[in-house]
Symmetry: C2
């Protein structure tokens, strides 16, 4: 059953480039060919001025909205993309592409290394957020779009938005970085590293060479995901969602079983994740996030945004987001105002932690629609 | 070399009880015999009124102060226990015992199960914070002490302090719970469970039956410890300690090596931990913490403290402790004032996160000395 107000059934497309001239990466390595999986929703207008690029977070995919099949859940940001929604597909042509290094159809460690005729595994080059964005720019070229009306995303998606503003300011009219940072903090690196160590510790990981093995490093990947899940919530939201309630029992069992609701939630989500994500991709994508420091090599963060004075920014943080706390967004705002960019900034009161950018749908809809509407006039 | 102001060389003693009559546990199981490892510092006075019990945290031991050998680091709270220190061994007789379930000489999963003539492993009964405290009471009996001058501890040590106030209020004159909670929150349970899942995921864990195996579940235990370490610090203290500095290199290697200082710190401490702690004990001790909810089964937290109206409390929280945030301590204070206990409460401005109770030595020394001094008069 397709829900009301949905864009209905969609499908993923694939764009391959750098078949002849290799795609140069920040690391100095080069990749050839490069494939990006992408989806589009709505219609590109005649002067190609209504395109919005949506950038996804760590575990996301190109499937941001609509349905692949009637019986599956919709795309990851379906709440905000569709007719009459925050990103209104009656007005805008919305594009979402899977990032380089991921495992949802774009080039990554699961892709076949043509030179070796087997999956890359750890032979895939380490990539950066900027590499992801440069690859997206090739896709935008391919779609015949010179200037994006906007680029938007939360968390790692927000990092890509900021990288767009730094690398291609003349190609975007507006930028919407949500619940994000311009520089991964040591605490963020620490959580990434714990996830990676959990994967390394799994003997089935086998130095990343497991694609032809019957067993995958699912246990390690599940632990990595559980750590992640805690960081996406808040103390307050966990109190509300789980409290100290037990799962399917009335009293303690005094044994090492899943007893608390919150344990059950983590275990369920950890295991579910192993059925849809690749352990090596988890390593690559978290590494790209850890490397992200837009000010480094640019003198200062303001210098990184030097070319973005004409871009309109909507920066949003959430009060209970302790993973990407408000001060990260304030540093972005400070750098942007230093170069006289037009910045709208909101620190939204929310109890939902980092996940708020996905959950505060009503607020986000009002905020984003009105911001984009102002730009259209 | 023994540092100035130290109590010098100390040794661990062992007390065994419940050899004939088994020790009854909250779970309904019973344990026989029960051994507690303990150390004492200073001299018990003639009327046995100057004894202070120190309770340790998750990974602590009875070795709280002084040195076992000249070339080893001192006990875990040596900064605060010794001549002229917060717990002044010139005035007080200080006792610290290793908790039940741990692996530093007290009965736990590494102990020999006499019935099976091999280590208990997961056949050791699940214990609670209250069980730990009831066992400590046997030790206090054994030492011929009727009333403790004070009981003190941080983190899980603070939980034991609160359990003493609830179970044996007539046996303590003062209680000093630091950076702790009366009820483990879902976020705390979640972090515990991730640590346990990392251990379960290690194939060498082997359902807890690994004591006669050449390989131990070190990789899983190390990941558990790394998660823990992040939670003991703060965003701010990690910025100060590590920033985004690289370790032993000047630029990114674009490979999956330890590159950032913070990664190196976590890995080093994770590995170091496996040389001193037991994976099964990690399961038992975290489980005891997760079960801890002093208000449950007592009507309310205030009801749990009903008998503690004559106990003097010093409750301390730290502003940057996001693991046991200030509101946990405020709930304790509220319950204590509801039963008209004498409460001194401080929320100390600190950037060191949960670890502050170990690191803010000057503040703690002044605070604890003055609190104990007031009681002596």
């Amino acid at each position: 059953m397709i829900l009301m107000n949905s864009i209905g059934i969609v499908k993923t497309d694939f764009f391959t480039f750098a078949e002849n001239e290799p795609f140069a990466l920040d690391s100095g390595a080069a990749l050839s060919p490069v494939t990006l999986a992408y989806e589009t929703y709505g219609t590109l207008n005649a002067d190609k001025s209504n395109a919005i690029l949506i950038c996804h977070a760590l575990s996301g995919s190109a499937h941001a909205a609509g349905y692949h099949a009637d019986d599956e859940p919709p795309g990851w940001w379906d709440d905000c993309i569709g007719p009459g929604k925050a990103f209104d597909t009656d007005r805008y042509f919305v594009i979402c592409s899977n990032v380089l290094g991921s495992c949802y159809g774009s080039s990554g460690p699961t892709s076949i290394n043509l030179a070796a005729e087997r999956p890359y595994g750890l032979h895939f080059p380490v990539i950066t957020i900027q590499d992801m964005v440069r690859a997206q720019a090739h896709l935008i070229d391919h779609l015949g779009i010179d200037t994006l009306f906007a680029v938007a995303g939360g968390s790692m998606g927000g990092m890509q938005v900021l990288a767009w503003a730094a690398l291609f300011p003349q190609r975007i009219r507006a930028a919407i970085p949500l619940a994000t940072t311009a520089r991964h903090s040591p605490m963020l690196i620490a959580f990434s590293e714990v996830g990676r160590q959990a994967i390394y510790a799994d003997p089935y990981w086998n130095d990343g060479d497991y694609y032809d093995q019957p067993q995958k490093p699912d246990a390690g990947l599940a632990v990595a995901r559980m750590v992640g899940h805690i960081t996406y919530l808040s103390d307050d939201s966990m109190q509300e969602k789980f409290g100290r309630r037990l799962r399917g029992r009335e009293r303690f069992g005094y044994e090492f079983q899943t007893e608390f609701e919150v344990e059950s939630y983590l275990k369920y989500n950890g295991n579910k994740f192993t059925r849809r994500f690749d352990a090596n991709s988890y390593l690559y994508v978290t590494k790209a996030m850890d490397y992200f420091d837009l000010g480094a090599g640019n003198g200062s963060l303001a210098d990184a945004f030097r070319g973005a004075a004409d871009v309109q920014f909507l920066v949003v943080s959430f009060t209970s987001d302790w993973l990407y706390p408000t001060y990260h967004s304030k540093e972005i705002v400070k750098a942007l105002t230093a170069v006289n960019a037009d910045v709208t900034y909101l620190d939204i009161l929310s109890r939902w932690g980092h996940d708020a950018f996905l959950l505060e749908v009503e607020t986000m809809t009002e905020l984003i629609s009105s911001f984009l509407g102002r730009l259209s006039h």
